[in-house]
């Protein structure tokens, strides 16, 4: 057996393990949507009702599109806020670089739930944010952050920002300073260097960050359910309610399958767009 063939075989257990641990539950989830389940009791009958309910009722399309729009908005906010942080990291030397990295990573050391409860205290009607805005006369009456889209966007962006910043940092670190120097020597302005050299060079990192943040935002549950309240409807919250409150497991499974499929398709689309924007990364 050649070393290459041996290498291929050696990944066999990992492939089998992954297929069993990820593939089988996903297949089961998809099939669960075709089983007739009466309040958590399997009736042993097949029925397309779970999927049919979703495709025939426009309410689900609304919830899906709303979830998609919020996930894309959070991804955009993370990109707009994350790039300057990653850029600052790229330009910094010494201890400050370590401090920035620590600041970016620090939120990951705390659970999302704890951070979201923190946001609930900060964003409340009597919370620190409203107190600060009122004290500085920026506003005259408290802003309703909790149980609104504003609060959910703030919370989700803060929670998911590290997942955007870290791939961008990694991508910027691979950009050779010589490219910038060469461009400046050839008469390019700082803005042109940023726009024509740095941005294209970091597109692969951006693609990774965007895909990662989008997947997490599209399936995010604790932040919208806590900061958005019980009536803030996005697909993960709706799936949870369908599964646990209504005990309609087949519809819940069908919705979860659609969430998974939709997420996969959109990530594929994001990757395709970024590849089109950076053809040199696949030219070889």
């Amino acid at each position: 057996m050649t070393p290459a063939a041996r290498d291929r075989w050696s990944v066999g257990p990992a492939v089998i393990f992954t297929a069993a641990m990820i593939g089988l539950p996903v297949i089961f989830l998809f099939l669960l949507g075709f089983l007739k389940i009466d309040r958590g009791v399997f009736t042993g009958k097949f029925s397309p009702e779970g999927y049919a309910a979703i495709f025939t009722d426009p309410y689900y399309a609304q919830v899906f599109l709303r979830t998609l729009a919020i996930a894309l908005l959070v991804t955009l906010l993370c990109l707009l806020l994350g790039y300057p942080i990653a850029f600052f990291f790229y330009r910094t030397q010494g201890r400050l670089k370590g401090a920035i990295l620590l600041a970016v990573m620090a939120p990951l050391l705390t659970s999302t739930l704890v951070r979201t409860f923190g946001w609930m205290v900060l964003l409340g009607r009597d919370g620190a944010v409203n107190h600060a805005l009122l004290a500085t006369h920026i506003i005259n009456s408290p802003i309703e952050f909790l149980f609104t889209l504003k609060g959910v966007l703030i919370g989700m962006t803060q929670v998911l920002l590290p997942y955007m910043v870290l791939p961008l940092m990694a991508a910027l670190e691979t950009v050779s300073p010589m490219l910038e120097e060469a461009a400046i020597n050839l008469g390019a302005s700082r803005w042109q260097v940023f726009w024509r050299i740095l941005i294209p060079q970091t597109l692969p990192g951006m693609a990774g960050g965007v895909a990662l943040v989008f997947i997490l935002a599209f399936s995010e549950f604790p932040v919208p359910s806590l900061l958005g309240g019980a009536t803030f409807k996005i697909l993960p919250v709706y799936i949870y309610q369908t599964m646990t409150t209504l005990l309609d497991w087949s519809r819940g499974a069908a919705l979860a399958s659609i969430l998974l499929l939709g997420s996969g398709l959109i990530v594929f689309l994001i990757q395709w767009i970024f590849k089109r924007l950076s053809p040199w990364t696949t030219a070889a």
Binding site: M120, V121, D126, G127, F147, G229, A230, K233, T244
Partner: protein, 347 residues
């Protein structure tokens, strides 16, 4: 050092088998898992019921799992006969469904000698299956510093409460009770909740909490100033120094009986049956009825403490003048109401 493949595979298989065996044997260990109230309402259950029960049965541990949410029911059903819990407290609406679905057992009366001390109407409310452990009231709690006192359920629609009102989804008995009340106040009934929806829209913007404990937290943080609330939650918040007053609005506070059930398939049958019997003992029920918990005693030998007048009727006659819904009819509309509520008020 490389592990031989056979050793590695055997080890992994053994781990898998052991982990599965561990899951199966949850109930075979000396632990009784009881789904109980969250927050401070659990204190009397720990102090005056679980701890003495452990002392009485050497080697047994009683674990109280705090939850009022439906996800516990989902877990029991998903476990398919190997429930992670042994005993559960259910409000009558959920009790009716649980009995119908057959996942709680009918404890033999011989195992429940204390049942003879319980008001018969409460036994029938629990469908002669679980034991009626307490009754609670849904009334209105308000912050007297921020809003005027309401006197009736209809007052909730007064313009002065706009933007200050909170409620829970019909997934909780508290929210469901409010919806049934809204329907009944406007020509509907337990099996016709349709009049509730336009009426609830008339409330304007209101905050919806996913559970009663989340609603209590909203009160604490000043997000809401008035809301339908359990008498027990209101009493506990008031004891903690919250500016909060509880009223039993006209035509009356809504009475909801709580039942304690043994879950079918519990590996702790003997203990699981004794636990509810101790729960309805005169001694324990006397503790439950005291401040700040004010759980209504179902044991007729337990006097209602006179200091509890704000939070519950102090006489049987007063209790009879409270509101009792026909939950048998209402529960048939619950899933529909939960979905409709989601659709009507989702943002």
């Amino acid at each position: 050092m490389m592990l031989p493949r056979k050793v590695l595979l055997s080890g992994l298989s053994l781990l898998a088998v052991l982990s599965m065996t561990g899951c199966k044997q949850k109930s075979a260990g000396n632990e009784l898992v009881v789904v109980s109230y969250p927050g401070d309402a659990q204190i009397p259950y720990r102090k005056f019921l679980a701890d003495p029960f452990e002392k009485k049965h050497s080697g047994l541990t009683v674990r109280l799992v705090p939850s009022e949410s439906e996800d516990v029911v989902a877990q029991i059903k998903a476990a398919r006969g190997v429930s992670p819990y042994d005993v559960i407290t259910l409000g009558v609406p959920r009790q009716i469904t649980a009995v119908k679905e057959g996942w709680v057992e009918q404890t033999p009366q011989a195992d429940l000698p204390n049942l003879s001390h319980v008001y018969p109407q409460f036994i029938s409310a629990c469908k002669n299956t679980g034991i009626p452990e307490t009754y609670s009231l849904i009334g209105i709690a308000y912050n007297p510093d921020k809003v005027a006192a309401p006197t009736s359920w209809s007052d909730l629609w007064k313009p002065e409460y706009r933007g200050k009102l909170g409620m829970t989804t019909p997934a909780s008995n508290l929210g469901f009770g409010m919806i049934v009340m809204a329907a009944k106040l406007n020509g509907g009934s337990e099996d016709n909740l349709a009049p509730a929806w336009p009426k609830l829209h008339e409330l304007g913007s209101f905050v919806v909490a996913p559970s009663p404990e989340a609603l209590a937290q909203l009160f604490e943080r000043g997000e809401v100033a008035i809301a339908p609330m359990w008498n027990n939650d209101a009493a506990i918040l008031a004891l903690h120094g919250m500016k909060l007053t509880f009223v039993q609005p006209a035509p009356g506070a809504i009475v909801v009986v709580s039942c304690m059930d043994v879950i079918k398939g519990s590996g702790q049958d003997a203990f699981a049956r004794q636990f509810p019997n101790d729960e309805i003992s005169t001694d324990f029920q006397s503790h439950l009825a005291q401040a700040p918990w004010f759980f209504g005693p179902t044991n007729r030998d337990v006097p209602i403490p006179p200091g509890s007048a704000t939070y519950m009727p102090t006489t049987v006659d007063g209790l009879n003048h409270s509101v009792y819904f026909d939950w048998d009819k209402a529960v048939l509309r619950r899933a529909e109401a939960t979905e409709q509520f989601d659709r009507e008020f989702s943002r």
